[in-house]
């Protein structure tokens, strides 16, 4: 049985796809069998971030409609053999996904994978609901900013009421807070909500804090998930997330601004 994990947020552009790619690849590098599913029907971004966009032949909707088998649609990652990607389609037909058909695909994937990571579209509409419906765990991706925190709270409400686990009265979805685009310097200056502030408001366990980092753009330019950039702060922060998902206790890093050298302090850095 696979662990089904949805990466969700409500608000758009907070780093769900970046995080899905990093976490999927990170778990696979640890030797687990992982499949990454792009639920963002019509937009399709995960394949670009993973760097496999030119190998897409069939997609999720083709599988749902019976036009291709799962094996035909799954793309094997070139870097790690235990990782596969199921791309979203670029057709606009968002209603292609039904609970029944998605459930079937997930059941089949569950037989052969350890982790199924679902990259959710933004919003709280049908697409986002479909991505979270079957989840066992949710990574609630949040930026330290009012509208993102508020949307995350709304998503928490959905997880608790609109998921399969809620409807069937099973054990609730396990929730994780992933704070992304965190800028310790701005927090120190009182311009940005701190980790503690967001934890206070959402009151769910903290899985990770990913700093605002130039490495993320470089990674997406290259189609190499940022976790491969082991020198970078964001790459290391995602690495810590993997350890925590696997049950290790790891200290949080990159929470305080780097001290400036005396020269930059004197000469207005």
């Amino acid at each position: 049985m696979a662990r089904i994990i949805v990466v969700t947020s409500g608000k758009g552009g907070v780093g769900k796809t970046t995080s899905s790619a990093a976490i999927g690849l990170g778990l696979a590098l640890k030797g687990h069998k992982v499949v990454l599913i792009d639920f963002d029907i019509g937009l399709r971004n995960l394949d670009l971030i993973m760097g496999c966009e030119r190998r897409v032949v069939y997609d999720f909707v083709n599988v749902i409609n019976g036009e291709a088998s799962l094996n035909q649609a799954l793309i094997k990652d070139k870097r790690v053999s235990s990782l596969s990607i199921l791309p979203a389609s670029q057709t606009r037909d968002k209603d292609a996904l039904t609970k029944e058909s998605v459930g079937k695909v997930l059941d089949e994937l569950s037989q052969s994978y350890d982790y199924i990571i679902c990259d959710s579209p933004a919003g709280i509409e049908a697409g986002a609901m479909m991505a979270l419906y079957f989840a066992d765990e949710a990574i609630v991706t949040t930026n330290p900013e009012v509208s993102s925190v508020r949307d995350s709270d709304r998503i928490l409400g959905m997880l608790a009421s609109r998921s399969r686990r809620a409807e069937q009265g099973l054990e609730p979805i396990k929730e994780h807070l992933l704070l992304t685009r965190y800028s310790p310097k701005r927090v120190a200056e009182g311009e940005m909500l701190s980790v503690e502030d967001v934890e206070d408001i959402l009151s769910i366990p903290l899985l990770g804090v990913i700093p605002e980092s130039q490495a993320v753009l470089k990674a997406s330019n290259a189609g190499e998930p940022v976790i491969l950039d082991t020198e970078s702060d964001a790459g290391q922060a995602y690495q810590d997330v993997i350890e925590r998902l696997l049950g290790e206790t790891v200290d949080f890093r990159f929470l305080v601004a780097e001290k400036k050298g005396i020269f930059s302090r004197m000469f207005g850095g």
């Binding site: 009012v146 508020r150 709270d153 409400g157 009182g190 311009e191 909500l193 206070d200 408001i201």
Partner: protein
Amino acid sequence: MALLDYFSRKKEKQVSTASKAKERLQIIVAHERNSRHKQPDYLPQLTEDILKVLRKYIKVSDESFSINLDKKDGDLNVLELNIELHDEQAS
């Protein structure tokens, strides 16, 4: 003097935006969580009726009145009314 101004203004900014954001979020999130919990169907009518009675005697604005049905542990329910009175009316 200008330098002092600069520092004090900087400090002022420190207490303001992030903590203001937190305060606003705490209020809106608490509010939205409350309305997520399904309230009984009679609650809106009850609210209206209570307000009607109250307004026979005192001035009550919509903002200074709140009604809440809370589920406590077990099967205990508490109906909570909050009415803010302004100074003149309290005495």
